[in-house]
């Protein structure tokens, strides 16, 4: 196995919206950057799966002149159940409009009114309609951002590059090790600053609406390097993802489209009774209702509820126009892949793993608890809190992407390159080679990964309890012990099984600390519902949960939330 070596100022891990924006910002501040993308540029990470919605408080320049950054800030803080750090929320709220204008400059097309104002859709939890409308959704955004990255000569993009290790020296992070899937070589990048923009790890659950590549690389790398992680128990489910048929399982259909302005349909139980009231609830409330209906046995044949627009007073043609306008790709995907026209027949949907509110603990500059290491986008932790609003994720990729890329660049100018410790490198290379040695009792990583997914589905769903979580933790530790038996072929280029082996090594850490965080928080709030602790406990738990690795073990603690402008109502 050959090892290639590169040196740069800033290395950005990821290929989605946050990674691209961070790289662009760092490059525009004069830094040489390497951006490593696990897949194909512009078609990688979770951003392409996103819909039209990106929040920005344009006020008079948008749909409702009453909207403002302050109102946006307040809506986010309240939706996050006062667990999001407000120093970060302020940056997101105050820079959202500028970052969207950047996107427009790059070439992203937004729907506008005839007089040039931004068209904005209302989404649950927004005091005023605030979701700007991207034509062709997150795929369009991804492609345009990747193109903008390619226009910068000082950003070198490594495609099909699977990063899996953070190098540390003198207590700081000094770069990354990864595998170039195209050549099969290992690649070490020595950098002054490292930005984790790897997105979430929603696909650690078996039922997810995110790409299968998202299994916790970034969070686990940070954890293994000794960085603090925060609020991992708040994994957001989305209420209405297709559960049947399997060919389209995981495809998002938006319950937000059920309002009168759009399709005017209903989410119903098996016999057609509407179960979600209008005005529509925000996401954590919506999934609770749907889960409860399913648990009570009022669900559909395949364990979901119905997404039903067939009885809309608007009529078939008008409803079809809505889907063709708002989510044309999803609508036609379900027709092409499964032969189902959701305008004509109800679709079975259920809550699926959708977004990580938690992640790497950062400050408002994106600095983690380790020198040289930054995080932004979904991989960052302490901004969304216990729940997030529709359109906050994409907005965060651009606002915090730019903020963190910029801060990393500024810091990089002031520091020297610390070399990679050879011992650090060799120890990881030995692990990788170990996966490719022949073993008597061998096990394939794909089956171990499946065991993690099963455990997360069973014990770490939005409704969870101490007993189940403890059992889940036991399972995870049992699965971890199997790692020594992993044996894969040394096929050189694009070694999918080797990638799965390394992904497993990281995923098992991400899973363990997620289950551990869910066990640690003994209250219910946002997306974390402890059946054994059903009340929200503001006295003891209106705080972050922190997990950090000490002497090889996960250590959990509490930390105060940063309130800059808006205190909880009872304080």
């Amino acid at each position: 196995m050959d090892i290639q070596n590169f040196t740069t100022d800033v290395v950005v891990i990821g290929g989605g919206g946050a990674a691209c924006r961070a790289a662009i910002e760092a490059a525009e501040r004069g830094m040489n950057c390497i951006m490593v993308d696990k897949g194909r540029p512009g078609r990688s990470g979770a951003t392409p799966t996103a819909l039209w919605s990106i929040q920005a408080p344009f006020g008079a320049r948008g749909r409702d002149e009453r909207d403002s950054p302050d109102q946006f800030f307040e809506d986010m803080v309240r939706a996050g159940r006062f667990i999001g750090d407000q120093n970060i929320a302020e940056i997101v709220a105050n820079t959202a409009c500028d970052r969207i204008l950047d996107m427009e400059r790059y070439g992203v097309q937004f729907k506008k009114y005839d007089d040039g104002r931004f068209y904005q859709t209302p989404m649950p939890g927004q005091t005023y309609p605030r979701s700007c409308f991207m034509f062709e959704n997150g795929q369009h955004m991804s492609t345009i951002l990747a193109r903008e990255v390619s226009r910068h000569d000082n950003i070198k993009v490594f495609k099909d590059f699977f990063a899996f290790h953070l190098f540390k020296n003198e207590g700081a992070v000094v770069g990354i090790l990864g595998m170039d899937m195209l050549s099969g070589d290992l690649v070490a990048v020595n950098a002054k600053s490292t930005v984790i923009a790897t997105g979430g790890y929603t696909s650690l659950w078996g039922f997810s609406d995110n790409p299968p590549t998202l299994t916790g690389d970034g969070v686990a790398m940070a954890y293994r390097a000794g960085a603090e992680l925060v609020d991992l128990e708040f994994n957001q489910y989305y209420g209405t993802d297709v559960i049947w048929p399997p060919s389209v399982r995981g495809c998002v259909v938006l319950y937000e489209l059920m309002i009168e302005e759009f399709a005017d349909g209903e989410i119903t139980d098996r016999v057609g009774n509407p179960i979600i009231d209008k005005p529509l609830p925000i996401r954590d409330e919506a999934i609770k209702t749907i889960f409860t209906v399913i648990k009570e046995g009022r669900g559909t044949e395949h364990g979901g509820v119905y997404f039903d627009t067939t009885k809309s007073p608007k009529g078939e043609k008008a409803v079809r126009d809505v889907f063709n306008t708002m989510t044309p790709k999803h609508y036609h995907f379900i027709i092409d892949a499964a032969g189902i026209d959701l305008v004509k027949e109800p679709l079975e949907v259920a809550p699926a793993s959708h977004y990580q509110c938690g992640g790497v603990y950062i400050n408002e500059r994106g600095e983690s608890s380790l020198g040289g290491l930054y995080a932004c986008g979904e991989a960052e932790g302490n901004f969304q809190g216990a729940n997030r609003l529709a359109g906050s994720a994409l907005c965060d990729t651009q606002t915090m992407g730019a903020q963190v890329g910029g801060c990393a660049a500024d810091d990089t100018k002031k520091c020297d390159l610390i070399p990679i410790d050879k011992k650090d490198l060799n120890s990881v290379v030995d692990i990788i080679k170990g996966f490719m040695t022949k073993k008597k009792k061998k096990i394939r990583p794909i089956f171990l990964k499946e065991e993690i997914l099963k455990t997360m589905d069973e014990f770490v769903a939005p409704f969870r309890d101490g007993k189940g979580l403890s059992k889940g933790l036991g399972n995870i530790r049992g699965i971890r012990d199997e790692i020594a038996k992993i044996s894969v072929s040394d096929v050189g280029r694009y070694n999918l099984e080797l990638r799965e082996a390394i992904e497993f090594m990281l995923a098992i850490d991400a899973a363990e600390i997620t289950v551990g965080s869910a066990l640690f928080r003994t209250e219910s709030r946002g997306h974390h519902n402890r059946v054994d602790f059903p009340e929200t406990d503001n006295k003891n738990w209106r705080c972050h949960s922190i997990v950090v690795r000490k002497s090889g073990k996960a250590e959990y603690s509490k930390r105060d939330v940063i309130y800059t402008r808006l205190k909880p109502d009872d304080e």
């Binding site: 990747a146 390619s150 099909d160 790409p211 299968p212 060919s247 036609h332 892949a337 050189g492 694009y494």
Partner: protein, 105 residues
């Protein structure tokens, strides 16, 4: 039973591409993307293909040639009893098997 003829080629090791036959038993219609996942999981872990999916038939990461025609793997269903030949697209260099380093972004 789906009789699948799959293009295999490792430019670093093989002189020429070859085709490998797999007889895959399925209980329902599956898409090409599902079929490749089944082969990788249950029949042959060394098969190289792109696992990424966007859930809306848009990213084109999973495009392949099916019986000579370029199709999206995620939106192309196969009948329970069918025969299919799957090859990489020609829009780039073959890295291994069905994985192409795409020329265009």
């Amino acid at each position: 039973m789906i009789k699948a003829k799959i293009y295999r080629f490792d430019p670093g090791k093989d002189k020429e591409p070859y085709y490998q036959d797999y007889n895959i038993s399925v209980q329902r219609k599956v898409t090409i993307h599902e079929l490749l996942n089944i082969i990788h999981r249950d029949y042959d872990g060394t098969l190289a293909f792109r696992t990424y999916k966007c859930y809306k038939g848009m990213c084109t990461t999973c495009i392949v040639k099916m019986n000579g025609k370029v199709v999206k793997g995620c939106t192309t269903p196969l009948e329970i009893d069918s025969e299919v030949t799957i090859e990489p697209v020609e829009n780039g260099t073959v890295i291994r098997d069905l994985v192409v380093d795409f020329k265009t972004m």
